[in-house]
């Protein structure tokens, strides 16, 4: 069924009783052409673009839990493309352009709201970096502007821009085309669109080991039995090293907890996204009305989906200094996700040289959600054509041998 206003109206007449299932529940077949491990946004997007752009391939997505139950359901939903270096700016801008047409493309309202993102500067050096990044963005054809503190006060009256605070706001960058999207809808929308193109979405199916023969992948052993495959793409974020170990390789990533929290729902008070690297917090208001606030990563590595409370404390202090009006907002929920951080804060979208037919899309660290469509698209082409998509080339895993890192740490900012 194609979702439309007409369908909503017709189904509304009889109490919304018989909406069809968004995608069918299926059991794994004995083999596929391509297996995507990981049913989060990136994995489902990869499967969708593979099915759309390489018709005829038999594709399945294996998810150990449920669709969108990992980091896709745990992030703070910010989408932007104002990265400093050409390689990442091109990749994230590719993603942003796909975001702009995504709802129509997959016929699922992902509630993409281009409400703009402000990245604040609190020191002279912050402001110099912001000017440099804005100029770099403009040269790369990405919309960006520098906003003064006085202008910020006009645009976001509830923000504290005075000079008497510990870290006064001196200005910011602004990307108007940036914004937020509905994270669950992205996972569900891609799953539905991929299933419609014949992709098997298999939940509760955990990969336990890989069968590799003579440097070539043959298939995977799962909690639901052996599944053969010619090509296997791993898109498992914080658990990427666990899968890498099955293939007997090591990745240049470390998994850290990243925490976020939301307040009680309230009336509209903040119509944009505000991020600050210096005091480390970012905040937006969801359509439901709750403030969505993100903290920094815990320093230690770990796979427990929770972190240490002092990071929440630190982040809440920063947000309250920026927005004194939020000081009495009550916090409803707090959680953590496991993010795989690369030494250069850039992803790995790459075939694995040691094992033919094996590909990894990982290392997105704290900022993967914004890249979901672009990541899926270039990864699908990397698998489908068995060579890196031009936008993915700089993100080859070989860069950790050649030294051609893409140093986004600090450049685009740690906060995502």
């Amino acid at each position: 069924m194609k979702y439309s206003w007409l369908e909503i109206f017709k189904k509304g007449l009889d109490g919304n009783k018989d909406w069809p299932q968004a995608w069918p529940e299926v059991s794994p077949k004995s083999s596929y052409d391509v297996l995507i491990i990981g049913g989060g946004g990136h994995g489902l997007a990869s499967a969708y673009y593979l099915a759309r752009d390489f018709p005829g391939k038999r594709i399945a997505v294996l998810e150990k839990g449920w669709i969108g139950g990992g980091n896709t359901g745990r992030n703070t939903t910010i989408v932007r493309s104002n990265y400093l270096w050409d390689e990442s700016a091109n990749l994230y801008e590719h993603a942003l352009k796909l975001w702009e047409g995504l709802t129509q493309d997959i016929n699922f309202n992902v509630m993409f709201s281009q409400r703009g993102v402000y990245n604040l500067g609190h020191t002279l050096q912050d402001m110099r970096d912001i000017e440099r990044r804005v100029n770099a963005n403009v040269l790369n054809g990405i919309d960006a502007e520098v906003v003064s503190a006085a202008e910020l006060k006009q645009r976001i009256p509830i923000m504290e821009t005075g000079k008497h605070v510990r870290y006064p706001v001196m200005g910011s960058s602004f990307q108007a085309r940036a914004g937020v999207a509905r994270h669950d809808a992205v996972a569900w929308g891609y799953a539905r669109a991929a299933a419609k193109l014949g992709v098997d979405i298999i939940q509760n199916c955990e990969v336990q080991s890989m069968e590799i023969e003579g440097e070539r992948i043959k298939g995977v052993n799962t909690s639901r039995g052996y599944i053969g495959a010619d090509q296997v793409g791993c898109v498992t974020a914080g658990n990427s090293s666990v899968l890498a170990k099955m293939a007997n390789i090591r990745l240049p990533v470390e998994s850290h907890p990243l925490q976020a929290f939301v307040s009680e729902p309230m009336k509209p008070v903040l119509d944009t996204v505000v991020m600050s690297n210096a005091v480390h917090g970012y905040v937006s208001q969801s359509d439901k009305g709750d403030l969505v606030i993100g903290a920094g990563i815990d320093s230690y590595t770990g796979y427990a989906q929770r972190g240490s409370p002092h990071l929440i404390d630190h982040c809440a202090a920063a947000i309250v200094e920026l927005f004194p009006i939020f000081s009495r907002a009550r916090i409803n929920r707090q959680w953590g996700g496991i993010v795989d951080v690369c030494p250069d804060a850039c992803p790995i979208i790459s075939p694995i040289p040691q094992v033919k037919g094996l590909y990894f899309n990982c290392g997105w660290g704290t900022g993967g959600f914004k890249a979901t469509p672009g990541s899926g698209h270039v990864f699908a082409h990397t698998i489908g054509q068995d060579q890196p998509h031009p936008l993915a080339e700089p993100f080859h895993i070989d860069r950790f041998t050649t030294g051609a890192l893409i140093d986004e740490h600090g450049a685009a900012g740690v906060a995502h």
């Binding site: 090293s241 990745l251 998994s255 427990a304 030494p343």
Partner: protein, 92 residues
């Protein structure tokens, strides 16, 4: 919040007094190592799910580095050792 025992100070203190310093006991390659070996040494990590062997520094205390074994799924700290004791074992 982790509570970490510092083997030098002989006290269990809050995590905020300490700095995490990554995977422990990584062996530096020889100077004539290949690019691949250097890349491995600099960037590739075990990133184990389970019991890790990691370095912590008591930054706001004695400022010494030591080795902690921690289950990173439950965050339970299983063992704390000084480098001296580890090197002593290796020599013996």
């Amino acid at each position: 919040m982790l509570l970490i025992y510092c083997p030098y100070c002989g006290e269990t203190r809050e995590e905020q007094e300490f700095s995490y310093a990554g995977e422990a006991l990584i062996k530096r390659p020889d100077l004539d190592a290949t690019d691949e070996e250097w890349g491995d040494y600099l960037f590739k990590r075990k990133n184990i799910k389970g019991v890790t062997t990691e370095q912590w520094a008591h930054s706001a205390g004695c400022r010494k580095l030591f080795v902690v074994e921690r289950n990173n799924i439950t965050n339970e700290i299983l063992n704390v050792r000084t480098f001296e004791s580890i090197w002593g074992e290796q020599e013996a």
